[in-house]
Symmetry: C2
Subunit: 185 residues, 2 copies
């Protein structure tokens, strides 16, 4: 099934991707495919999950900058692969509630796994203990998605490192320290 | 035509948006619509451009943080409007080359107009003169698009200010200073 989706995506592109074409290519009965997935978005979300490594962990390079840059390089590779299941899933998320939920669930899982990058940096003394990991991770990774997925500029080989460096500088300047509870003087 | 698109988007959503339905609602002949726009993406790109204020300039609040926060608040409003033509155009950009080109052209224009935010900050002494305006602007605005368009989290009222503040802190720490030409010692 996965091979069928990859081949369809590669040959005909995302917009032509239908459950029917995938079923035909995989030699599976149409009804079976429709029973299992409501739409292309559901199928893509499932496949993306199935092809993701269950044991995936962010690299431990020994520094906050290194860890964030490695993460950005991995993301850049996934988004510029041809065909890219990640990009197809994002595209489907605008058209299918299943895919939108899938995207949200997958990113949630990915960011949760990446929080260890921040806790390691706190342990090393690179970051204050009350750093908001999620905000830091989004700041470090968002520019890359912005350029590749929204602005559609060609992949910039320097961007993974630059975006990581920007986030580290902002973090060191206290950008992601959690605000004290309201009421504190 | 614009009203017809807005109504179609509001009632049936982006995925059901077709040139045919828009033509019918606007009371325009199908062939006329197809002659003018090749697909829904082309129509959305045109409309987005037509509804954009030709004289749009970023607000001049007197500080870099204020200018970036104001920009993010405007973007957040455009992306959370129901229906949002901006979001429909982004969705269409995955399916239509016209829309992808339109998105790229519109964002290019928008970021170019925003460079004055950076030059004003340089003049005020808030930023070093060799700051890369585009990189700073993308860092300041990307987290908002990331959360609203890709992660599909509900709009966070604090995010426009936070993302602006993060970019200012990174900029003050030298994150967006252009690298010296290769060969400089």
């Amino acid at each position: 099934m996965l091979d069928a989706v990859r081949e369809e995506l590669g040959e005909r592109g995302y917009d032509e991707l239908t459950l029917e074409a995938v079923a035909a290519r995989a030699g599976v009965h149409r009804a079976t495919v429709y029973r299992r997935w409501r739409d292309v978005g559901g199928l893509l979300a499932d496949l993306f999950e199935a092809t993701s490594d269950d044991d995936w962990q962010p690299q431990d390079t020994g520094s906050l900058h290194g860890d964030l840059a490695a993460l950005n390089h991995e993301n850049q590779a996934a988004l510029t692969a041809r065909p890219s299941i990640a990009t197809a899933l994002i595209a489907a998320s605008f058209r299918s509630e299943e895919a939108a939920l899938g995207v949200r669930r997958l990113w949630e899982d990915r960011y949760a796994r990446c929080e260890v990058i921040v806790s390691r940096a706190v342990r090393r003394g690179e970051l204050p203990p009350d750093t908001d990991a999620r905000r830091l991770l989004i700041a470090a990774t968002a520019p890359l998605y912005h350029q590749l997925v929204l602005l559609r500029t060609p992949a910039d080989p320097d961007l993974p490192d630059e975006a990581a460096r920007t986030a580290v500088l902002a973090a060191s300047a206290g950008a992601f320290v959690k605000s004290p509870p309201v009421g504190d003087a």
